[in-house]
Amino acid sequence: MLKAIWDNLKGLYSLLVGMSITGRYLLSPVETIHYPRKVVDDAILTSFRGPIRLTLGKKNPQETRCVSCQMCVKACPGGCLTVTKGDTKAPITWLYDFSYCCLCGACVETCPAGALEFSHKVYWVTLTREELIMDLLKDLKTRTAGPNPNPSSNPSPASPQPSSVPKDAPKASPAAPANPVASQTADQKADQKADQKAGPVASPNGHPEGAKAAPKDPGASPNGHPEGAPAALKEPGV
Amino acid sequence: MSDQNKNLDAKNLDAKNLDAKTIDAKTIDIDKWLKAWKAHGAYTLSKHDPHKDGIAVSAFLPLTALLGAAKELYQNKFLLLDLSALEAQEGYVVTYHFDHLESSFRLAFRALVSRKKPSLPSIHPIFPGAEWHEREAYDFFGLTFDQNPNLIPLLLPDDFAGPPPLRKTTAALAPIAKLGLLGQVEILDADFGALIGQTGGLSS
């Protein structure tokens, strides 16, 4: 009987130890990054694999290095890419359907001309499936045409192509029939500004309150680690 | 019941490391298994390079010998890893992979099932874990395992009407010999050898 009492007292002590630990954390600073107010530092994202984009041309940054050899189109497991060859070697349309892409990097690695690379965009979300179909040629021009060429911006969603796009729906994007996509409204500057800033309110992964331990923790969850992160957390829109 | 765990504490969870016997498969008594399977009337016996093929020895057994062979393996501390079925030209090859509990020795025995009568005995009386593997093979290949206690679809929806997904079109079928399932093979049964187009003797 005495042993049972002694066990319970020891149990009570372990309860108090447990409470002291949570008590200590109650008073210690908050660990999570408060998404709209703070943003994950770019130093962490340098190796993050965002949607792919065309690399800057060697001679003239406006031109792509792609020679439309269709190697990437064959290699892609999801069939996301459509490259149509113009009269010269350079491609005239370069459509990339991000909704089928699993970011495996097959295209980046097979490209003999090194014309593709990963962007490091984490805060990028679209509302319609059509906006997921990106025209990388146009994006290359916008990135390099602006006053301060900012190579890290995201490939802008597809804008309506003049009639040169072949009538039959490109294989890669059965979801988006050939009719012109919702035209590009915001001008490029605003578009770039939008995704640089905290991004639209529909934050990519609104944590439901008291998030149950969904086994798949959100892919691009913006949690960094303040004390560990070499670079200090920067305010958004810098 | 819980007093016995009272003194247990994470600190004294010593890593009782039975000196894990990393016995290389060569030193293990392969011949014992070859002899045992020959007694079971195996059609072919083959040796494999364990580092390349992952298994040390394998054999094609008649359907009636599956239960007996499984019981022997169970008594010698073998664990059923999985039941991997595939469709070759000659019919369905069902491979049972086994892993030895205390050493690095894996072996496998296989059964050839004809397409006309795709059914084979279930080994769940000895390895209850095999029930699920068999139901999965039933889902993907349409192989029925008689005496399997609960032969209803496991992974596919119960109203799945389509043909078993992993069956191949006749054009894509490949013969057993080409798939390298035999390793250094010794053919014991003549007509089985003829069926898979192999001659007798330990062809390397």
Binding site: G18, T22, Y25, L26, S28, V30, E31, T32, H34, E209 | -
Partner: protein, 324 residues
């Protein structure tokens, strides 16, 4: 006449005030619980709605009000709608005998303890009706657990309160408070530490919270007896859970921590401070400990709290009768 007009009007006013208090308490408690839970888990808790998230609870209740009340197909009509109402109103009556201040007792009754203990048992009926009425196997299991748990934990609660009643010699809550002094060492908790400890455990179990929240064990019974409730039904259950918490904290404050008596000036604010400290303690426990298994819960009660309560009562009887 049994009820003079003045007392009747006083009761009506008191009931309306108490309803206001319960709603305000629910809003404050939701905010406190989510903030404390957040900080324990090193996240900021509600932050977006209102300055630093203060209006979060208000918006939650708005949402719950606006939500459609969905009754499951084969749910029993009467029981399904009766359960939330029955959960809310008995708790209302329990606030009447509590002395909020020297003159602020809603219904001055000279045997307040009997009133409280009598009504405390009613709360569990709503859980049972909710479980049975929503005709869902999970809620049925939750209801069965709720009944067993509440019935089991009433007895140590009674024993603890009786020890204090024995000590202070009267059943009237006001006189119990008056006998305790202004300074903490004059409160009953110093004379009755074991009773306070037993009462603390049973108050956590009575309100189905923290390590004893088996009737609504999320990970086993998805949400226990209020699985099938959404919108106003769920809001009523939520409201009555927090009202129950507030009530048992008030009773603990009155019996053990000197009610409205406080170091400098007596007044209802002391009662609220003590009650909210106790509730902070309950919230703190909730986010620290795993859940107890059902048979361990009952074992703890019948084999440990009950003998301790009797022992404590016996000792108090000897001490008060022989020595005083």
């Amino acid at each position: 006449m049994f009820l003079s007009l003045a007392v009747f009007v006083q009761i009506i006013v008191a009931v309306l005030l108490i309803i206001g208090l319960m709603v305000a308490n629910a809003v404050a408690m939701v905010y406190m619980e989510r903030k404390v839970a957040g900080f324990i888990q090193r996240r900021p808790g509600p932050y977006e709605v209102g300055p630093r998230g203060t209006l979060q609870a208000v918006c939650d209740s708005m949402k719950l009000l606006a939500k459609q009340i969905y009754r499951p197909g084969n749910a029993d009509l009467i029981l399904y709608y009766l359960a939330p109402i029955l959960a809310f109103f008995p708790v209302l009556l329990l606030f009447l005998p509590i002395p909020f201040g020297p003159y602020l007792t809603p219904l001055p009754v000279n045997d307040g303890v009997v009133l409280i203990l009598a009504f405390a048992g009613l709360g569990v009926l709503s859980n049972l009706l909710a479980g049975w009425g929503s005709s869902n196997k999970y809620s049925l299991l939750g209801a069965a657990r709720a009944v067993a748990q509440t019935v089991a934990y009433e007895i140590p609660m009674i024993l603890a309160l009786l020890a204090v009643v024995l000590l202070s010699g009267s059943m009237d809550l006001k006189s119990i408070t008056e006998q305790q002094g202004q300074w903490p060492w004059e409160w009953n908790v110093v004379l009755q530490p074991l009773a306070f400890f037993i009462y603390l455990i049973s108050l956590v179990a009575e309100t189905n919270r923290a390590p004893f929240d088996l009737p609504e064990a999320e990970s086993e019974l998805t949400a226990g007896f209020h699985t099938e409730y959404s919108g106003m039904g769920f809001a009523l259950f939520f409201l009555s859970e927090y009202a129950n918490m507030l009530l048992v904290s008030f009773v603990a404050a009155v019996f053990f921590l000197g009610g409205y008596r406080g170091p400098i000036a007596d007044g209802f604010w002391w009662l609220f401070i003590k009650a909210y400290l106790l509730m902070f303690f309950m919230v703190w426990i909730r986010w620290t400990f795993p859940r107890v298994r059902f048979d361990q819960l009952l074992n703890l009660n019948w084999r440990w709290l009950l003998p301790l309560g009797l022992l404590n009562l016996w000792l108090t009887a000897i001490v008060t009768k022989l020595l005083v």
